[in-house]
């Protein structure tokens, strides 16, 4: 990506101040002594929390501090909950070479670890669908995919693979149907969810043509030694039960100029990522020079996730 080093993440500016606030809050909490009263006031604070987009910078910092304290006490290690904002002039695009994908699911598990998906009940933001190679001639009909293939070795004879996750639609049905506006598209094209505003009605799951959205049916479980403490408030921070979650293109990484975890994990280089607004980016090269397509193009959701034959 372009201008990789010029960017100052929003978070860097607020970090020292927040650390100070956190210390002050911790001192205050110990002065009050943990009791039913403080537990109650803590819950009320969460209950009356505003919609993320209506929060002031102070509100966001207070939220980050509160979340960090909560996760630190739950998982017993320091946490960073960033709120890094979008970068001007950047809209993310994803490219996936279905000619190269071997169906190894390394992306799936890298994603689970990076993004703190629940291990029990199991949630996978990426699902890899297996298709019969002969079907490829008729195009990809998602209704014929199998996400549960289990072979000794991949790729299996006569099969091909299509990993699928959030397609970051430009015209996203999920954000339209959400009754509380708890999910929206950020200026850099990432569709995010405010986990503290979502009411868990699952209308977005019904509306998503790609099965990208996942609900926390039970209390999400992440072993403390596996939890990733480097998080984003709209991304991979541990989620509460009863809300919807999905791929965010690793918002905690990409807004700091890094690749999504799945791109790094892919052993065959099938996954490409970059800035759609930068004419010199790899993703723009792929769009200009490869045979690309999007899933369910007839629905006009305008995904920013492109598949191509390398």
């Amino acid at each position: 990506m372009k201008n990789r080093d010029d960017r100052v993440p929003l978070d860097a500016r607020g970090a020292s101040r927040r650390r100070f606030l956190r210390g002050a809050a911790a001192a205050g909490a110990s002065a009050l002594a943990a009791g039913p009263a403080s537990a109650l006031s803590f819950d009320l604070e969460a209950f009356f929390q505003k919609h993320f987009r209506e929060m002031s910078q102070e509100d966001i910092e207070a939220l980050q501090t509160r979340l960090e304290r909560k996760y630190e006490s739950r998982y017993g290690k320091p946490f960073n909950v960033a709120s890094t904002g979008p970068i001007d002039g950047v809209v993310y695009g994803y490219g996936l070479d279905i000619g190269r994908c071997i169906g190894c699911r390394r992306c799936v598990y890298a994603c689970v670890e990076e993004n703190n998906q629940s291990r029990d009940p199991e949630i996978h933001w990426i699902r890899v669908l297996e298709f019969e190679r002969e079907h490829a001639l008729r195009g990809i009909d998602l209704e014929e995919g199998n996400p549960y293939y289990d072979h000794e070795k991949v790729p299996a004879e006569g099969k091909f693979y299509v990993p699928i996750a959030c397609q970051m639609c430009e015209d996203s049905p999920c954000t339209d149907v959400c009754p509380t506006g708890a999910t929206w598209e950020e200026p850099d094209g990432i569709v995010v969810i405010d986990y503290d505003w979502c009411i868990g009605c699952r209308y977005c799951i019904a509306s998503c043509p790609y099965g990208a959205r996942h609900f926390n049916w039970g209390e999400p479980q992440i072993p403390a030694d596996e939890v990733n403490p480097d998080t984003h408030v709209l991304g991979n921070r541990p989620r509460p039960r009863g809300v919807v979650e999905k791929c965010t293109f690793c918002i905690q990484r990409v807004r700091n100029g890094r690749y999504p975890a799945c791109v790094e994990a892919c052993p065959v280089g099938a996954r490409k990522f970059g800035n759609l607004l930068d004419p010199n980016s790899e993703i723009r090269y792929l769009l200009a020079n490869k045979r690309t397509f999007v899933l369910k193009a007839e629905l006009r959701t305008q995904p920013k996730f492109f598949y191509f034959y390398g």
């Binding site: 209950f47 919609h51 209506e54 009940p121 699902r127 669908l129 009909d141 998602l142 209704e143 014929e144 995919g145 199998n146 996400p147 699928i164 049905p173 339209d176 149907v177 959400c178 009754p179 509380t180 506006g181 708890a182 505003w197 979502c198 009411i199 868990g200 009605c201 699952r202 209308y203 799951i205 019904a206 509306s207 998503c208 043509p209 790609y210 099965g211 959205r213 996942h214 609900f215 926390n216 049916w217 039970g218 209390e219 509460p240 039960r241 009863g242 809300v243 629905l299």
Partner: protein, 413 residues
């Protein structure tokens, strides 16, 4: 005495009415309270462990609750089926049952709201979708529209029944110039609650089975079957247990009405089936799941056929005057119509729409016991509300509960 004080006496009197009654009445109320208690216990379970206590999963994210919701919106809307002929066409015999029809509507809306509430993962955040308090995604989200029209419909109907009942209690004739415009307003609102509920599903391009323009007309047609069918049954029970006047003529009129609505309902169903199977695009897989099942020994095909057969039999009963004019046979038709629509517009609509899911997975859903108990509790709340409201209104129409100028003597009931 100020009107407020008088109304307060009415409320107190109503409470006295519902706490007295026959042994059968108390047995019924206690039974309903027990069902509600079990439902509350099951809901506490769900609150404690999350919606994992249901059998819904990501592949099938709406199930028993939303199925019941869609069905009950129809029952609520169907109150207008008796209002329209009674007030617009001045059909004499049906007029006396309008009030009871509206009571059914009020109870049904409460059940609708409860079914949506038990379905959400974070019920304590429901206020996030309310105007002023939260951030409702209006006008984009059809769910916000649905809550708006349901709330308006509830307020209007509740006002109408309270006004009519209170006027009867005071022994006065209702002010037609005042209440009729409000009753007329409830007619388009009734149509709108069901249309908006249909739009909630219809607007989803990800779900081709629902993405059909016929869904809203079908919703209305089936609602106008299940609603009057329920009323015919309820009215016959009511006039057996309470000394209130509901003429056979009114019931037969409803039976006649059902002949038209069931004809429309079956016609629409035929249109959908034709389109699905004749064109047989990739999307026909949902209809195949609905009518034949996708894997041996699973699925809902048995229910689908049962719903079709019972609605066809009901249609024959409604359309042949010699059959529908015999009340026991009419009642059989009504039970069949109600059961048929409950299946067709409950899980019969939900499951094929989401099976297979958007990436082709077939998940066989059956509601969990906990889900069924919560659902039963909600139905218990609706039945109890209707029972109590019908008790008060029937005590008024029989003259047992009347406004008395002297405090403390309400007569016997």
């Amino acid at each position: 005495m100020s009107p407020l004080v008088q109304f307060w006496r009415f409320v107190k009197g109503s409470l006295a009415v519902v706490t007295q009654g026959s042994r059968g009445y108390f047995a019924w109320v206690v039974l309903l309270l027990a069902v509600i208690a079990v439902g509350v216990w099951a809901y506490a379970n769900q609150i404690q462990y999350g919606l994992i206590t249901t059998n819904m999963r990501d592949q099938l994210s709406w199930g028993f609750y939303i199925g019941n919701f869609a069905f009950l919106v129809g029952i609520a809307a169907a109150a207008v089926v008796v209002v329209i002929p009674a007030y617009v066409y001045r059909w004499g015999p049906i007029r006396e049952v309008v009030l009871l029809g509206e009571l059914v509507a009020v109870a049904a809306i409460i059940m609708c709201i409860l079914f949506v509430t038990v379905d959400v993962g974070r019920p304590e955040r429901i206020w996030h979708m309310m105007p002023l308090l939260g951030a409702p995604n209006f006008p984009h989200s059809l769910l916000v529209w649905d809550i708006l029209v349901l709330t308006s419909y509830f307020v209007i109907n509740y006002f109408i029944v309270t006004y009519l009942v209170y006027m009867a209690y005071r022994g006065r004739k209702y002010n037609a110039a005042f209440i009729l415009p409000i009753i007329f307003l409830s007619i388009p609102l009734a149509i709108s609650i069901h249309t908006v509920t249909a739009f909630l599903f219809m607007g989803l391009k990800a779900r081709p089975f629902w993405n059909s323009a016929l869904l809203a007309p079908r919703f209305l047609a089936s609602a106008f079957c299940s609603g009057p069918a329920l009323l015919v049954i309820v009215f016959q029970i009511l006039r057996r247990v309470r000394p209130i006047e509901i003429s056979d003529a009114a019931l037969r009129k409803l039976g006649e009405l059902l002949a038209y609505t069931m004809a429309a309902n079956l016609f629409f169903l035929g249109c959908e089936v034709f389109r699905e199977f004749y064109s047989a695009s990739a999307h026909v897989i949902h209809a195949e799941f609905q009518w034949w099942g996708l894997e041996e020994g699973h699925g809902i095909a048995g229910y689908t056929w049962f719903a079709l057969v019972s609605q066809v039999i009901a249609f024959v009963i409604f359309v042949v005057p010699e059959l529908r004019n015999r009340l026991p046979i009419l009642s059989v038709g009504c039970v069949l119509a109600f059961a048929g629509v409950y299946i067709e517009k409950g899980l019969g609509l939900l499951l094929p729409g989401m099976t297979p899911d958007v990436i082709g997975e077939v998940y066989h859903y059956n509601p969990s016991l906990n889900e069924i108990l919560i659902g039963a509790g909600v139905w218990g709340v609706g039945a109890l509300l209707f029972t109590l409201m019908a008790k008060v209104s029937s005590a008024i129409s029989t003259g047992e509960f009347r406004y008395q100028p002297i405090e403390g003597s309400y007569g016997r009931w």
